[in-house]
Symmetry: C2
Subunit: 263 residues, 2 copies
C-alpha cells in the first residue's frame, strides 16, 4: 500500500507542510496506516483517544446509544480529520462508505506535535472550530427541525460537499444508504423515503436509481430547510414571515460555540 504517499498528502493538504521537517518526522513516527473496505469498520485501537486522517474514500462516524440506536454524527470525505474519543457515554466507530485509506494517530501525541508549530496549530484550531460549528448546526437541526426541513438541509449540505454543479441544478451521488441518512437526521428510513418522495413531487428534486439525486431548485430547497437567519421573528409565536429571501445555501455551515469549549 502507498502509505508513504498518503502521509505526504496528509502533510501537504492538511497542514500545507513538506514532509521533510522535524514535525513531519515526529508525526510519521506516531502514524499508523490502514485501509478499510466499503461497509467495514475501521479497526481502531481505542486504548487512547485517536485522530484520523481520511486520505481517500468516505466514511460515517457513528455513535451508539442503548437499545441499538445509532446516531451518525458526521460523514467524512477525503481530506477530513476526525477526532475519536476512547471513553465517554457513547461508543464511536468509523465505518467506510467507500473503500477508504486512513492514517491514525494517538491524539495526545498528535496534538502535542501540532501545538509546537505555529502555522500548523493555527490550521488545526481552525479545523476544530469548523467542526464544532458544524456540529452545532447539526444540533440545531436535530432539535428544532421537522422531517422535511431535515432532509432538505441534508441534501443542501451534501451538495455543498460532494455535489456536482450543473448550471442551475446540482447532481448528487449519495454514497450512503437511506438508513444512513436516517441515522444522521434522527429519522427512520421510511420517513426519509417519504420526504424524498414529497420533494420529488414538489419538483424540487429528481431521482435516478437509488443513490442519484438532482437538486433542481436550490433556493426552493433552502426555503424548505427551515434554517438560516431567523426572520427577525420577535415573538416565538409569530406566524412565519418566510425567510427574508434566504441565503440560498447551506454551505458555510453556521458557526457558533457548542458546549462552548468549556473548563
Amino acid at each position: 500500500m502507498d502509505s508513504q504517499k498518503n502521509f505526504q498528502t496528509f502533510m501537504r493538504s492538511a497542514f500545507g507542510l513538506e514532509p521533510g521537517g522535524r514535525l513531519g518526522a515526529q508525526l510519521e513516527g506516531i502514524c499508523t496506516s490502514l485501509t478499510v473496505p466499503r461497509a467495514d469498520r475501521a479497526d481502531l485501537d481505542l486504548s487512547c483517544d485517536r485522530v484520523l486522517y481520511l486520505a481517500s474514500g468516505s466514511a460515517k462516524l457513528v455513535a451508539s446509544a442503548s437499545r441499538g440506536r445509532e446516531q451518525i454524527v458526521a460523514f467524512q470525505f477525503a481530506g477530513d480529520l476526525v477526532s475519536i474519543p476512547s471513553g465517554g457515554h457513547h461508543r464511536y466507530t468509523l465505518t467506510a462508505l467507500a473503500d477508504a485509506a486512513l492514517l491514525a494517530f494517538p491524539a495526545r501525541e498528535f496534538f502535542d506535535c501540532i501545538a509546537g508549530e505555529q502555522e500548523s496549530a493555527r490550521v488545526l484550531i481552525e479545523r476544530l472550530r469548523t467542526a464544532l460549528h458544524r456540529c452545532r448546526d447539526k444540533a440545531v437541526g436535530l432539535g428544532q427541525k421537522n422531517a422535511q426541513e431535515r432532509v432538505a438541509s441534508f441534501l443542501l449540505a451534501m451538495a455543498e460537499r460532494i455535489g456536482v454543479s450543473d448550471g442551475n441544478s446540482c447532481l448528487l451521488e449519495l454514497p450512503m444508504s437511506r438508513r444512513d441518512v436516517g441515522d444522521s437526521l434522527g429519522l427512520t428510513i421510511e420517513t426519509v423515503s417519504r420526504q424524498i418522495t414529497s420533494l420529488r413531487e414538489t419538483g424540487l428534486i429528481a431521482t435516478q436509481g437509488r443513490s442519484e439525486i438532482t437538486l433542481l431548485d436550490m433556493a426552493g430547497l433552502a426555503r424548505c430547510s427551515g434554517g438560516h437567519e431567523a426572520a427577525r421573528a420577535q415573538t416565538r409565536k409569530l406566524p412565519q414571515f418566510d425567510l427574508d429571501q434566504g441565503d440560498g445555501g447551506d454551505a458555510a455551515l453556521a458557526m457558533a460555540a457548542t458546549g462552548g469549549f468549556a473548563s
Copy 2:
C-alpha cells in the same frame, strides 16, 4: 469594573499563564471587557467571529432558526471559553442567566496569538476538542433520545457541572427556566414539566421550589438516560437488555469527532 482582575483570572485559569509575558500583552491588547445583567444579551460586535471568556456568572448560547425557533446549543459557566461565529445559517447569541462578566476577543487574532505558544495552543486544542465531543453528545441525545431520556441526561449533565454532592444524593440549583431546558433539549416546556413530574413520582428526584432539584438516585437516572455504551445489542430491533449496569455518570461527556473537523 475589575476588568483587569478578570483578565488575570482568564490568563491563569484558562491557560495557566502569568499575565506578564508577551502573549499576555498581545491578548490584553485585543481584549474587550463587558458585563451583562441577568436575562440580557451580550451586545457583541459580530463583524467578525468572536471568542468569549466567561469570567463570572452563567449564560446560554442560543441559535435562532426560522419561525422564531430557538435552540440552546450550550450552557456556559464561569471559566468557559465560547466560540461565536459571525456568519452561517443560524444566528447565535449569548444571553446571561446570571449577571455575567466576560472578555471578548476577535477570533482570528485570538487564535493567532494562542497558536504561537505551545502550551497555550495545547490547552486551547484540548478545550476545543472537549467542546466538540460535548456537542456530539448533544447531537446524539437530540437525534435518538425520547423526552424522558433527554431530561434525565440533562439533569445528570448539570449535576456534573454545577451539582453539589450530598452523600448519596446531589443537590442541583438550576439557573435556567423550564423554557431554557426545553430549548436545550428540543422539547416544549410542557413536556419538560411532565417528565420532571414523572421522575419525581418515580422517586428518582425531588423538587423544592421551581429551580431546586435533588437527584436522589443517580444510577437510576443513568438507567433512564438511554445513553452510555450500547448494551452490546447486536441487532437494531433487539428488545432492550437494559444497560449493563450503566456507568453511573454522564460527566466525562462522550467524545468522538462531529462533523469531523473537515477540510
